[in-house]
Amino acid sequence: MDKPVPGRRQFLIGTAVVVGTGLAGVLGTTVRDGELGAPPRSFRGGVPWTEGQADAPPGVSGEDYKFFTPAERMFIEAAVSRLIPNDEVGPGALEANVPFFLDRQLAGPFGRGDHYYLGGPWPKGTPEQGYQSRFSPAQVYRAAIAAIDKHTRANFNGTDFAKLSDDDRDKLLKSMESGSLQLEDGVDAKTFFTMLLQNTKEGYFSDPIYGGNKDMAAWKMIGFPGAHYDYREWVTRHGEPVPFPPVSFKGRPGWNGES
């Protein structure tokens, strides 16, 4: 253990045991997935550094929906378009492609409850104790959408949430926000609303590599330049407009011919 391995640029692997993941043989390749647990390592004799390895962000590709059923997708589109409606000031959540962002988030580690502790027992708790549910975020969405549609069908002549008027959807969203809407099947409306609103804003304002914030239009609306990293020139230019158009990790229209 802890013996130098020659030719590895002061990068020493001691008790290196690769745990049972797709990571086997990862050392020395260009992939490094920070979402997965790393194998135990031992370092001696220098700063370990491997050329070309980067814990690059897990962007998304494609256009297909992986998590939401068609009915769930209609629900989500009808809800987020009320949370952030479209007008001439800036895009709505629908126009910013937030439903697709949500789909990919729920299909991935976030949806599975990575970074949530979900062990029992599960008493309800006080508001100060925060999230207290056995459900992962994906389970919260699935159960809540079903419970809300059940509620609207019972109270609005068999109509799904997605088919209600703007006003009725706003009223329902408000009653979820305040916690006054009671749902069945173990669903807490306020917990769902809080999560949906937060995730909607995430999809609206995060880097477009995650599938939302289409054309960086939400950044343009507020005047945020995005992934710039150096503002030294502008620090003491007080009150001047900063003329940088927004840029994402993928660049911006005009760079690399991409849009």
């Binding site: 008790t15 700063v47 980067a54 949530y116 979900l118 006080t126 804003k201």
Partner: protein
């Protein structure tokens, strides 16, 4: 099966700020040192390079660098009459993990506590009477160490980080441009203060008009390139605005990675093992001596690591938990007030005031973790508390750390959280608003403490830590008074409007407040009032030292790490100069 490994002179449990400092100090003293870190290795070019470091979703909201609570968290409640439940998602504080830990994703706000902060009990009692320190069931204490004792070690941390700032008190002489209330410094800051953007500049002007004493925030976001005493090179901050909660892609934020690791990792007497979680400190049969630590790695292999010296540097919450799980010291009992381990858990009392302009472009995305102009006129005992009904205080900072749009869009009073009205308010105010932060002290209280949870277990089957905490009337009164002082400055900037975000109600685990947890392994002058002596040495098991803010008997109105680092250097010097020559208690009980 547990494998017993070759003994080392010192084992360091956790490799964040204090672990890195102790490793460097003990290696330089010639010891064979092993650090065990539960999280992964992390370096700038691999883990937070500029091509992808500025990712709000991934780092802030998906907790990419923070502790994953899915297999280990703590339980929380506001008082003993409630049932503590797991903190199922990080919120109020963002616990670090991995090499560098919180030192990677901190703001870099580098403070010293006031001389009077180290004498919370005796000083306030003398000036305001005995009830000032016992009202509201406060359990404040003196530290057993003074500002003057720590000054050389504060300085050592500034030299390590290259802290950017302007001294306000050099060897007792008040200096223009600095903080006139600070304790005397033996040296100027290693690098000049950062240039201030528009928001902090407006704040400074308004504060001056009101007769306050503004100065640039001392910062580990460096104003210019710097080579430190260990030969590490730190770059100049580019005001990227993705600082706290993110790693710095520019090598310009002081962190273990940028200041200590290049040096310590090259030492031939140092070893680091990552993905290795210490479960317990093992004791000799008489329980007077630690024999080493047991740990398990991410492959599930279990080890016993013998060591002559055990340094706990696993952040306050894990330090306290390891002391409790290992049976070191007597657990605190809130009913009787007896026992010490877990006693005096405290936090930070935060509030803020948002300011909105019509005519001024603040451009909040030009920011840095510690970019602020500050007034310290109402911190600690810098002002007369007679008749106010509280002790303690806060600094007030006109601060722009960034304009990350998911987290940091301010909207005026009465704006709904969604809908067209919200969107219009966001579009209108984003570039024209910023926030004054009121960063308040938190006194210790009889009912606020840490112990082991009776129900919830982590993935290894160990009891989770249980946190029982709420803000007391002392804190609410202090915070209201200070928020009013901040509002005065906000109004003096002549904005269109302001919004007060007061500290109301019970402590809530959901919104981020600070990762400034303190107490539970407190220091003091004798074993009946403290867990460790002034050198952070356990009174009960003298070859165990407990680093970190767990040693604070109560929390002052500043960010903790300057003081955490000074205490670590102070402890390291005592270990090297006294303990190694004659192992045993450094202070007689």
């Amino acid at each position: 099966m547990v494998t017993t490994l070759k003994p080392v002179d010192a084992v360091i449990v956790g490799f964040g700020w204090t672990g890195a400092i102790l490793a460097q100090q003990l290696c330089d003293a010639g010891l064979e040192v092993l650090a065990l870190e539960r999280g992964p290795w992390r370096d700038t070019s691999t883990d937070f390079a500029t091509g992808f470091a500025q990712d709000e979703l991934r780092y802030m909201w998906r907790h990419h660098l923070f502790q994953n609570v899915s297999d280990d968290t703590l339980t929380i409640r506001n008082n003993v009459n409630q049932t503590a439940l797991p903190m199922r998602h990080l919120g109020s504080f963002l616990l670090g993990t991995g090499v560098g830990s919180g030192g990677v994703h901190w703001n870099g706000q580098i403070w010293r506590f006031l001389p009077s902060d180290f004498l919370t009990k005796s000083h306030n009692q003398e000036r305001y009477g005995k009830q000032s320190v016992t009202d509201y069931d406060l359990t404040v204490q003196d530290w057993g160490v003074t500002y003057d004792d720590l000054e050389p070690f504060y300085n050592q941390f500034d030299v390590l980080c290259g802290t950017s700032g302007k001294a306000g008190n050099l060897n007792g002489q008040i200096q223009p441009g600095g903080n006139p209330f600070e304790g005397a410094r033996s040296a100027e800051y290693p690098t000049p203060p950062m240039a201030q953007t528009y928001g902090p500049t407006l704040f400074g002007k308004a504060a001056t008009d009101l007769g306050r004493h503004p100065f640039p925030h001392p910062t580990g976001n460096l104003s210019q390139p710097y080579v430190n005493n260990l030969g590490a090179q730190i770059g100049a901050c580019t005001y990227c605005g993705f600082c706290e909660k993110f790693g710095c892609g520019n090598y310009s934020k002081a962190s273990p990675q940028t200041t200590v690791l290049p040096y310590v990792m090259a030492k031939s007497n140092f070893t680091l093992r990552t993905e290795s979680e210490v479960l317990k400190v093992e004791l000799s049969p008489g329980r007077k001596q630690a024999t080493g630590v047991s740990y398990v790695n991410s492959a599930g292999e279990e080890f016993f690591q013998p060591a002559s010296l055990v340094i706990l540097s696993s952040y306050i919450l894990q330090n306290v938990r390891l002391l409790l799980l290992s049976g070191i010291g007597t657990p605190y009992n809130p009913q009787t007030g007896l026992g010490v381990v877990g006693k005096n858990y405290a936090y930070q009392t935060m509030s803020s005031v948002n300011v909105f302009f019509d005519d001024k472009l603040i451009n909040p995305f030009i920011g840095a973790g510690a970019l602020a102009t500050v007034v310290d006129d109402f911190n600690g005992d810098n002002f007369d508390h007679s008749g106010l009904g509280f002790i303690g205080g806060a600094y007030i900072a006109g601060m722009v750390t960034g304009g990350r749009p998911i987290e940091m869009i301010y909207t005026p009073q009465g704006t709904p959280a969604w809908g067209l009205a919200w969107k219009h308010a966001a579009a209108k105010n984003y570039l024209r608003s910023f926030s004054l932060s009121v960063h308040g002290s938190c006194m210790s209280h009889r009912g606020n403490y840490l112990d082991l949870d009776p129900t919830y277990r982590d993935i290894h089957g160990r009891a989770m830590l249980r946190m029982t905490f709420d803000f007391t009337d002392n804190e609410h009164k202090m915070s209201d008074y200070l928020t009013d002082r901040a509002a005065e400055i906000a109004k003096a900037m002549n904005p269109r409007e302001i919004k007060l975000n007061r500290r109301t109600g019970s402590w809530n685990v959901v919104p981020y407040q600070t990762t400034h947890n303190t107490g539970g392994a407190i220091m003091g002058d004798n074993p009946t009032n403290s867990v460790v002596n002034k050198y952070l040495q356990s009174w009960d098991v003298p070859n165990v030292f407990s680093m970190g803010a767990g040693a604070f008997p109560q929390n002052a109105g500043y960010n903790p790490t300057g003081t955490v680092a000074a205490l670590a250097y102070h402890s390291a010097q005592a270990i090297i100069q006294q303990y190694l020559k004659s192992p045993g208690p450094l202070v007689q009980a």
